[in-house]
Amino acid sequence: MSSVFFANLPYLLKGAFYTIALSVITIGFGLALGTILGVLAYYGPKPVKAMIAIYVFVFRGLPVLIVVFLFYYVPPMWGFNLDVYLSAATALVFYSAAFITEIVRGAIGAIPLPQIDAARSLGLTTAPMLRLIILPQALRFSLPPLLNNTIMSIKITSYSSVVGVWELTFAAREVVERTLAAFEIFLGVMAIYFLLCFPLSVISSRLERRLAIPSFA
């Protein structure tokens, strides 16, 4: 049964490499953008807060696949012809970052106000207070949801195959169209995705129990 899978494994692993690269880009840039926007959504001036709220509303409300298609069809209308990898990666980053923005904003909001009063009374200004008091605690709250977001990001990279990005799911379809071995290939590829995602979900649920701060509940 599995000989078809193993015969095509090198090709599929090349696809997995593209999936991992796309995931790293999505998560890396998503984290950077989402953290900045999450902090601004809490501490920024009103117009900035409003703009971030609109961004989060739109990108969390839209299906990922629609975001991928929008970044694929709309830029050429304005005369920008983006490479399909670039347009798909941008779409995934903006989608993932919208969720991260909410996670970060929520985590900052979960820090009890007396902490801020205490930091102020110690004479800390906003920047050191953020760096020393707020963000380290916010990180603790947000680690499990951020890991879940990472799992989601890995899974949604497969959607970029629909606009022609060559990665693991695209490679799997090519192999199935050539060999007709739908079960062997798709189940084998599911196993590859599972190996990428499952350890993260185990870590996430363990951290959720370990990192909870009882007195904050």
Partner: protein, 220 residues
């Protein structure tokens, strides 16, 4: 002003073609939601079973479908079922795949809700002389149901968003109709109208989620 007018003219021009897609999207969403709830209610007793192995096998299934992309699961069924001489329509295959994954998510929502009800409640019910099943039916279940409603609505938003994937297995839903208009008639702005519709749909469900959360959050 002219910009807005142009957009409205475009929407009016595209609407008849998009309507068919909207109806298919709503149909897939409704069927997949019903099927995922049915499937989750089949999985729940298996997941919580005390019979050796049953809970473990069910957990394996739940973890597998939650940790792999839905698109891949859909391809597996779409290309695999005909090989088993089970030729389902593309739409039925899409609905089946969505329900198989979302049922697994729902089971975890139920479990979290049941676990969140304190052990004391169960003990108190037992102390009053209720049998384990009666205690579950009268004490645990009604409270768990309250706590399930909000996350269930939230999950249904994810489900509606996931219906877009049926476009990848040839179902003529709103996504595929929009894609075909965008490609054939070079009317890429069709996709903006499509996106606006999805945003409206998930916003309505989001509003429902907030209402439910508000109503049931304080009572439990």
């Amino acid at each position: 002003m002219e910009g807005i007018q142009a957009v409205l003219v475009n929407v009016a021009r595209l609407l008849p073609r998009l309507t068919d897609g909207i109806l298919v999207t709503l149909e897939v969403s409704a069927l997949a939601l019903i099927w995922s709830i049915v499937w989750s209610l089949v999985l729940l007793p298996l997941r919580m079973s005390s019979v050796a192995g049953v809970a473990q096998v069910t957990r394996g299934y739940v973890e597998l479908v939650r940790n792999t992309p839905l698109l891949l699961q859909m391809y597996l069924l779409y290309f695999g079922l005909p090989l088993l001489s089970l030729p389902l329509s593309a739409m039925a295959t899409g609905v089946l795949a969505i329900g198989l994954q979302h049922g697994a998510y729902l089971v975890e929502i139920y479990r979290a809700a049941i676990r969140s009800i304190s052990r004391d409640q169960h003990d108190a019910a037992r102390a009053l002389g209720l049998r384990p099943f009666t205690a579950f039916r009268l004490i645990i279940f009604p409270q768990a149901l309250m706590r399930v409603l909000a996350p269930l609505t939230n999950q249904s938003i994810v489900l509606v968003k996931d219906t877009t994937l049926v476009s990848a297995i040839t179902v003529m839903d709103l996504t595929l109709v929009g894609k075909m208009i965008a490609e054939r008639s070079a009317a890429s702005d069709a996709f903006v109208v499509v996106a606006a519709f999805y945003l409206a749909l998930t916003s309505i469900l989001g509003l429902l989620h907030r209402v439910i959360e508000h109503r049931y959050a304080q009572r439990t």
